[in-house]
């Protein structure tokens, strides 16, 4: 649940979600659930001419399993906190 908890701290910030089909969507992180499904608002797509259907939507739900990367806003990553949380999670896991 480490990443679920971490993504919840990013709600309201702008992120770019890159999918396994190469589509990259930038938007404000609206919510995340325990499967790491992601909801973005105010979305825009890089290379919109290649994905014209995305012009009809301004928010979207992305299934966690199709995500390749999430590009994170630099100012919102507290590395010490992440290290501690990772060590705690590693100890807790069997």
């Amino acid at each position: 649940m480490l990443f679920y908890s971490y993504f919840k701290t990013l709600v309201g910030k702008e992120v770019t979600v890159e999918l396994k089909n190469d589509l990259a969507i930038t938007g404000i992180l609206h919510s995340v659930d325990q499967y790491l499904n992601i909801k973005l608002t105010n979305t825009h797509v890089q290379n919109e001419t290649k994905y014209p259907h995305m012009m009809s939507v301004r928010n979207c739900f992305i299934r966690g399993s199709v995500v390749r990367y999430v590009l994170l806003p630099a100012g919102s990553v507290d590395v010490e906190l992440l290290h501690d949380a990772t060590r705690r999670e590693a100890r807790a896991a069997p």
């Binding site: 966690g64 390749r68 994170l72 590395v79 992440l82 990772t86 060590r87």
Partner: protein
């Protein structure tokens, strides 16, 4: 709990020792990442910092029909990587 044991008993222990170190990650789709490991979980989801991504593509030249191997690089300050894209992780070389 005392000091964490610095022995490798199972595969994920190797990654535990790489926390805050620069690692190499090979991903699906001919993608390679080099970056500092800040977080991971049992699925190999990760957060990397100061990342350099290298994507290798093979294109066919329109005129000569030769295979052209291209590598594209980009830098990303902080990146979450979903574990199901990961093929292998290699820790930094130690002496």
């Amino acid at each position: 709990m005392g000091e964490e044991e610095a022995t490798v008993k199972e595969p994920l222990d190797l990654i535990k020792l790489s926390l805050d170190e620069r690692i190499y990650v090979k991903c699906r789709g001919e993608r390679e990442l080099r970056g500092r490991l800040h977080a991971y979980d049992q699925h190999l989801n990760m957060i990397l910092g100061e990342v350099e991504e290298t994507v290798t593509t093979v294109e066919i030249d329109d005129e000569t029909y030769e295979e052209i191997i291209k590598t594209q690089k980009r830098s990303i300050p902080f990146l979450f990587v979903r574990g199901d894209s990961v093929i292998l992780i290699s820790p930094p070389l130690r002496s």
